[in-house]
Symmetry: C2
Subunit: 334 residues, 2 copies
Amino acid sequence: MATIKDIANKLGISISTVSKGLNNANDISEGLRQTVLDTAVEMGYTTKKMRKEEHKKLCIFIENMNYESPNHFGYDIILGFKQAAYRDNWDVTLFPIDPDFQQQEKYDTYMLKNGYSGAFWVGFALQDAWMAQLDQTTIATALFDNYIEKNPNVAYIGADSFEGINAAIDHLVNLGHRKIAFLNGSLHSMITEHRQQAFYDSMHSHNLPIEACLVANDYYCSESAKHYVPAFLANGATAIVCGSDEIAYGVMAECHREGFRVPEDISVIGFDDLPQSGESTPALTTIRQERIELGKCGYAALNNLINHVSISKILLRPQFILRDSTSVKCPHAS
Amino acid sequence: MATIKDIANKLGISISTVSKGLNNANDISEGLRQTVLDTAVEMGYTTKKMRKEEHKKLCIFIENMNYESPNHFGYDIILGFKQAAYRDNWDVTLFPIDPDFQQQEKYDTYMLKNGYSGAFWVGFALQDAWMAQLDQTTIATALFDNYIEKNPNVAYIGADSFEGINAAIDHLVNLGHRKIAFLNGSLHSMITEHRQQAFYDSMHSHNLPIEACLVANDYYCSESAKHYVPAFLANGATAIVCGSDEIAYGVMAECHREGFRVPEDISVIGFDDLPQSGESTPALTTIRQERIELGKCGYAALNNLINHVSISKILLRPQFILRDSTSVKCPHAS
């Protein structure tokens, strides 16, 4: 576990200043105090005081998503949630779970038995057993990238898919592309469906035809690319928009294997902006989701639900990140 | 202006406790301190300390909406915004404006010249001069019931129209109604368009036909009713959903003039839940927007924008309020 000295070194401040921040002293600015607390949470340092009273407990359930290291998609979401929750003196427990876990006990029963005031769900699939229970739950529940109609105890937070995909299509159209392919994740998640619809809507609003042979769904991983990219290329695609950065890495590798240069022969755009996407070859043009902020919004939504303010949705605007994997349409392409 | 004694009387606590709350003393609970501050804001009491430094200034622009008294729609929205902003030490100025005011100076110029860090807009119409400038503004701007695509400096907050209208249609269908009319505000505002689309979508999802003779748009006021209600009744409507409570008051009066009893002969549903809607005859069944919370969400969105977190949307779930203006479809109706 990190020590006070580690925190002081990381921030370049004295141990006594860290101590003041952790102990809420008067002679330290509010901004610096929050930085110290955020860094303590980030480095896994908790004082007895920070561990809070037993009855202020929240939990995070995560599945279908990597989160263990800073270059994983889920890492910053969890970090942002914890940072915001600690400021309000909540204790937060993280539970990586799987579909079997959800069969063992009902969601509400689990939460009540274990004394949690609310939960943040990350990475759930539409067919999960607990998802079907959300229409009726009385537990304050904030969902990352899932939405439940009508129940005032459940909120949805995420990035606005249409704005993100539309920014990608806008960019490609401005570069002269018309035959734009889309390789997305599997359609068992709400957010994949949103991005798919966003692609259709954006192509439509740019007066571009949607060709069935240029749209495919598979898992959110780089291996998906080899099943679809050769056909995309054979069918004349000059650009490929991907449902995630992971997919885009595979797409760029597959284009290379097929003898196509990125971006000279084909443009590629990701979605997420993982930390390593600036380091790929070429550096990936992508749609950034601010994951720390998504985590903080998840907490804000949950805290409102606990206080009986029925947040339905909080959506962040994704940000278009221009790097090197896109360029003007190759003049030799059809 | 209210005195400390007025605040003490209203809350039923001592003057010294009020003073502690206003001066951030240590020996008062955080909850009570916030109640004291909220009440002070509500009663118009401000200490020198609460008036804040000159450079932390926000403003609210309001038009097309009454806000002066607690039974006006805008009153609680402004109150909620101010309560949340004062907690973070912002000074807030309210500007009731009109379209002419927007012609005199550009929005960004006005804001920069006067040293405001951001603004909350309430009641703007789509054709307002300043609305056209929002695509490009660099000023943090939170809009109540308006949405701007793409600009990361602008956020939209409001109640989810589809959930609200759908709850009303659900209720009426469960009571046996099929010929449901809709009297909405004028289509120069985004939110009116949303409610209109929500009506079409909800009727469609309930497998009910939309009859052109049962849908109309006019101003958000009770006088609108007399132009349309006689035709709705003549065309066999057994229920009328209204775009606002003000419209619903007029609809109930007009039904009465035409010799129809509410709810025995015709059901009426409002939207907003104004304070006086529980006191109408009959008491109005309506869709409640939590206006204090909408104001607080407006501040939360604006504060995020100022800190460069690009909130796109915060939507609250409206709440269905069942009172006495709806009942099972009259058996004599067609």
